[in-house]
Structure formats: C-alpha cells, structure tokens
Symmetry: none
Subunit: 411 residues, 2 copies
C-alpha cells in the first residue's frame, strides 16, 4: 500500500502555515510500514482539488486529506470529493449531537453553518473528533481508500493516531511486517552517538539502525522485518542490548516517551513530590509537568522568580549570596532548590537560574545555566550548563537537563 | 503566472522534517503577487520526481524545486530535471571556485563528490549561494520557467529572497500587485465571525476577505490587488474599518502578532508589572511571557499553586474560601489574584484556577475555569470560562483568555 497526503487550504499556499499535518501523518505511517510517495497541498478551490484527486488516484492507493472540513463556505473538501467520486453526503446524527453538545457545553451560539460539519460521505466509517467538531471519515471505493481528517493539528493528531491508523492497518493483509522500536537518548550529540555505534550501524541489516536528532535529543530507530512478532522482538532485544552496552548512560526511554513522562513515572513509583524555583525557564519546567494528566500527585508547585527582589522576598535567598556570587551561581542554585523544597514541603526541590539570552547578562555569557537539586536526606547538588542555542532553545534544553540530572540522581 | 513548489527529499515523506521551505517561498511569492496553486513533496527517486515534473508542467508555468542539490548519491534533482527536459549539465567555474574556497575557509577536506555541486543546467542563470555550496539555478524552456534551490532553509531563504524573487519578477510584465493584511481575533468562533460578516464577505471582491481558524483564534486575511501601494492601503483601511464596526470587540492585532506579544507591548508602554498565581495552567502563562526577550521588565514572577495546601501556605488563601466555595470559584480566583499581587508587589495580579481535565473534579466539569484579575486601584474581577477541549487545549486556551481579559480591562 502506498499513500499520498493531500492538504487542502489556501493558507498553506499563501505561506501562512507550514504543512505540519503531512509531517505528522507521514511519521505515523512510516512507523506502521506504509509508504508515502507524495504530499500535495492545494487551495480551497474545487476545480484544482478535483485535479489533485485525479492525479493522486493514478499514483497512490490511499489518499489522506487534511483540512477543509470546517463550517465556512471555503471548507469544501467533503463536497468536492463527493462530486469527484459520485458519492452522496448524509447527515450523521451522532456527529450532529456531538456538535450540538459542544455548543451547549461552551455556552456559545450554534449557527446553521455548523450543521454542515456533521455531513459525512455515504458509506464511510466515521472517525470521532474528540477535540473539535468536524468528524473524520474513511472509506474504500474501487481499489482506492480515502481518509478525510480535520485541519487543526490539535484535532487531527489524536484522531489519526487513535482511529485513523487502526482503520488503515485493518485494510492491510501483509505477510512480512515491519516492527520498529525507538530508543531515546539525551545528553549526547548525534554525531558522537553515531560515531560510537559506527561499526554496529554498518554491520546491521535486519534490524537496521537509523539515527535522528532533534531538540537536543537523539533517537535511534531499530527496524526489524519478519513474519513473526516474537522473532522480530527478539532481534530488536538483542540489538538493543548491544547499543546499551555502548551508550546506555544516555538512554532514557522508548518510542514516544518524553523526559517529562519518564521522570513523572519514576517519581510516582517512588512516591516522591517535587517543587520548583524557576528563573530563566519562567514556569516552563512546571508547565510541562502540568501538561500530563495526574500531575498533581507529584507536583506540589513552585515559584517563578524572574527578579532578584523576588528570589529574596519569596524564596528567602540571602542578600549575601546574590552580592558575593550573583543569581547565576552554584550557590544561588543550591539555595533556591533548598528553599523552594522547604517552602512547599516536598521531597525534592529543583531550581533553574541562568542567562537565557540572546544577550549576555551581568558578566555571564548567554547560555550559562545552573541547575540546583535538593533531595530529602541527601546533600544538595548543582550542575552547570553552557548552552549555545537561542533564548527559547536554551530554556527548553535547560528544562530537559533538569529531568536528565534528576533521573540520574534517582536511579 | 502561477507557480508550483516541488520539494525533493525522502526525509519529508518519512515525516522527519516539515516542508517549511514551501511555506517560506509561498509567503514571498504571495507578497510579490505570484499565485501558488500547488505544493508537491516527492522522495529522492528519479522516476517519481520525473512524474511530478510532468504533472506540474501541465498545471503551472513556474516550477520551483527545493532540495537534492547536495553532494551525495541520493541528491539527484539536477540530474533528473536535465534528463526530463533533454538539457545538458556543465561545470560552472565560478561555483567551483566558490566551493573550493569554502573548504579552505572551514579547513575541511574537499572530496570529489563535492565538485558535482558546481554542475549547472546549461543555459541557466546561476543564483549565488552565500551560505553554503550548492548554487541555485533559473531558466526558461518552452513556456515554462524552472528554479532550483538548495534544501537547507539557511541557504535557501537568503538565496530566494535576494536572487530568486528578483529573477522571477524580471520575467513578469505586470501592472497589478497583491497587498494583504491579516486581522487577528480572539474570543469569537470562526463560524460566528463569518456569519456576522456574511454580507460584507459576499459583497467584497477587491479587497477579498478570507477567514481562518486555529488554536482558538480566528484571523481574517484582507487581500487587495492594485497597481498603487497607496490605493491598496486605502482599500484595506476602508474594509478594516467596516469589519471593526462589527467585530472590533474581539480584535487584538495584525499579521504575526500574538496575544502575549500584544499584551506585553501594552504593559511595557504603560509601565505596569505583572505577577501570576497559576493552578491549572501550571506555569504556562508565565512561560509564554518568559519566551519573549525583555520579559523581566514586565514579569515579576509568580506561584504555581497546584494543590490547595500550597494555595493556603504560599498564597495565604483562607481556609474558609476553600471550604465554602472550593478552589475553582470566583472567590478563590479573586483572592489568588489579590494575594499574588501583594506578595510580588506588582501593579497587576492575575490568577488561573480550574479543572484542566480530562476528568471532572470535585463536582466541577472539566473545562470550568475562573480567571482572577487584580489591578492596582480597581476592584478585583473574575471571569468564568466553560472550555470543551482536551487537557492541554484547555490550558492553552485559558492562558489566551487571560490576555484577552487583561487587554480589555486595560484598553
């Protein structure tokens, strides 16, 4: 099976947004072993969309559309596909109910054009939209399968991974299946990891190893092809063990794990609570924790202490520490971690103080960061980072290093 | 003239990167008044690239290629185009010199495959690469123009805006240029905004109005075509005024503005400082502020008070308030805003307390949120939200509503 992803929306052709939907869907399909040969973007124009459908029908057997399922007049993906394929549209009562209850819940007024969103292509399987109003659709006609997904990534992504991928896999009858496992590393560069694993990468044919870097992390995708899931798993296990012998110190998780999720799982298992004093990160470290459901069992809370005055007043940092060592120092990082731990009565206190950039500050280079870590019953530690990114890359990297050191200390 | 952008690279089809090149080029072409009707992405595969060229030749008169100009074996854009068009390749001495000096400058060793990068399509105008090695190319054959650009955005962007756009405009004999302006709205749905502006949208031909929704915001792109910049600006001004009469209450900014940036600008102008008490947002509101350089002049800091215990201990919320009204209440939101303002000695205190979801909590529905706003010298207010998204959509939406209400109060 090979797929083409067709993104519909004039905003793409005007350069207002990037086609991140095609990227997301492609990544998911690659994992599922479905080839993608083309991406197409086309505007909200029935004639040109029809032409794009005809071209894609000639070169792909799965057409995935994103966008153009909204309530307004220029949302015409469904209508155009219906016309091109000679299929009718009918009202899906369940989708209509869901739209009505969305309006009731948000106490907003439903306008007649919102009903249009509940129209579906006849004979299609409805993909539920749990984060918005427009339902997705999947159906097969002649030898070609069609999937329609909404445009906003916050609606499309969960719909595609929860309902779209299973629907596609259900239509496949494959003998050799691709099994893959992603190993995630932090604190080591892509070139370094690749050079340490060079012999292994060159010698491997099944499973293969594909490194990829992004956002300060490196992942290795191990891919095995085999008819038996058990044999494939054993092949992956054996290769993983070899890799761990070389680079295990930097490994933190699998597949879609993130440092935050791995860290939170560990803290939950150990029954430990956390509080945070954030200067340059400005709340980012806590916000990433709060993004995970059930965060309140681990996160007691914390203080964003952007200014020295606040470090003194709210977190009782000594005047002397700031004068003698400055706010960006090992001493201040340790004091912040200890004091936030005391104020919030948590087992662990973590602190971030540094120069996010873009400019140097107070004689300290942009990218200079201290992370403080106070764990109940242990001596307080601090870790120095020298980062080389822009302001927000430095802030994000700092939060990740926070988890990196916390995981190292606890395991 | 209408253009198609063809991105070449298997990494796009594997979902490893997003096609930000197409976005950049499209934005530049829109400003220059050149229509883009399609984007295509295709892998490093000569057969499928050839097919993509044939399709594009049938529907566009300018084909812009990105990627596949590098030194490795899978870089084959030039070679494939040469074959498809029956054009030869020849060594460009100037490009070769430039590649040699690049290696001398970076003290790296030049390998023979690097010479391949200096090959250009015969009869093409060379577009100089000032940030890398592969030169760009522009030529016309029969009725179609072709432009080849390198894949890395750091090389492609400056090359395209400095040399690519002028080369394209040089071939045009136009009188009319496109001018556009984006108006940004928050707090109103796309369908509602469109239905309020329906008559206006239907009646407009120049400028046109195109609505777009995303992340709880709605934008209207106004596009005027005219030979004179002044007349186009006057047309856009007149239309903007009509729109503001209907929907001005929800307007917050232009073009690439964000609520945070607009809010921060206003607070800076007025010389006001801010502190925050964040429960469900968990630091997100402050983190978004901290992402902007110079945040420390406005943001004093704040407290993430995820648990009732912390609301009491760190922010002195009265036991009685929590017992009588619960943490998710108008009373608690007001008290939090007032107390964080006092603790951090800022002019403005803002608070967020609510149920992020996915589950209901303590008899309150997921998506129930109170925002408190305490401004020096005014009576404290609180605003109720009933959100219907997932956990993180609710958290992000809440932070945006924070700015929405803050802007309303201050302007």
């Amino acid at each position: 099976m090979n797929a083409e992803i067709i993104a519909v929306g004039s905003e793409l052709l005007l350069g207002q947004i990037a086609n991140t939907n095609a990227q997301y869907i492609s990544g998911q399909l690659a994992e599922a072993g479905v080839n993608v040969y083309y991406h197409t973007s086309v505007g909200d124009n029935p004639l040109r969309l029809t032409q794009a459908i005809e071209v894609a029908q000639g070169r792909a057997d799965l057409l995935i559309f994103t966008g153009g399922l909204g309530p307004t007049k220029d949302d015409l993906t469904k209508e155009t596909i219906a016309k091109a394929l000679g299929t009718g549209l009918s009202m899906d009562e369940e989708a209509l109910e869901s739209i009505k209850s969305y309006f009731q819940k948000t106490k907003r007024q439903m306008t007649p054009n919102n009903e249009k969103q509940a129209l579906i292509l006849e004979g299609s399987q409805v993909l539920k939209n749990e984060n918005g109003m427009a339902p997705g659709m999947f159906f097969k006609k002649d030898a070609t399968s069609y999937m329609l997904l909404p445009g906003p990534p916050s609606e499309m992504r969960p719909m595609f991974s929860k309902y779209g991928i299973p629907a596609i896999l259900g239509t496949l009858k494959r003998k050799e299946i691709i099994y893959s496992r992603v190993l995630r590393f932090f604190g080591i560069g892509e070139a370094q990891l690749e050079s340490e694993l060079e012999e292994l990468i060159d010698a491997q044919t099944n499973p293969t190893i594909a490194p990829l870097a992004g956002d300060g992390e490196v992942t290795l995708r191990l891919t095995a092809k085999h008819g038996s899931r058990e044999v494939a798993a054993a092949l992956l296990d054996a290769l993983e063990e070899k890799i761990m012998n070389v680079a295990g110190d930097f490994f933190y998780g699998y597949d879609h794990d993130s440092l935050v999720e791995v860290g939170m799982r560990l803290l939950k298992e150990k029954g430990l609570t956390l509080s945070c004093a954030e200067s340059l990160t400005g709340g980012l470290f806590q916000s990433e924790i709060a993004s995970i459901s059930g965060a309140s069992t681990v996160l007691k809370g914390g203080v964003v202490c952007y200014q020295d005055e606040i470090k003194k007043k709210v977190l009782s940092i000594q005047e002397r520490t700031l004068e003698q060592y400055s706010a960006v120092s090992e001493q201040c990082a340790k004091e912040l971690a200890e004091n936030v731990r005391t104020l919030f009565s948590s087992e662990i206190g973590i602190s971030f103080t540094g120069v996010a950039g873009p400019d140097d500050h107070d004689g300290k280079k942009a990218g200079t960061v201290w992370i403080g870590l106070a764990i109940n019953g242990r001596s307080t530690k601090a870790f120095l980072l020298n980062l080389a990114g822009g302001r927000n890359s430095n802030r994000k990297r700092t939060a990740k290093y926070g988890w990196h050191y916390l995981l190292k200390e606890l395991s």
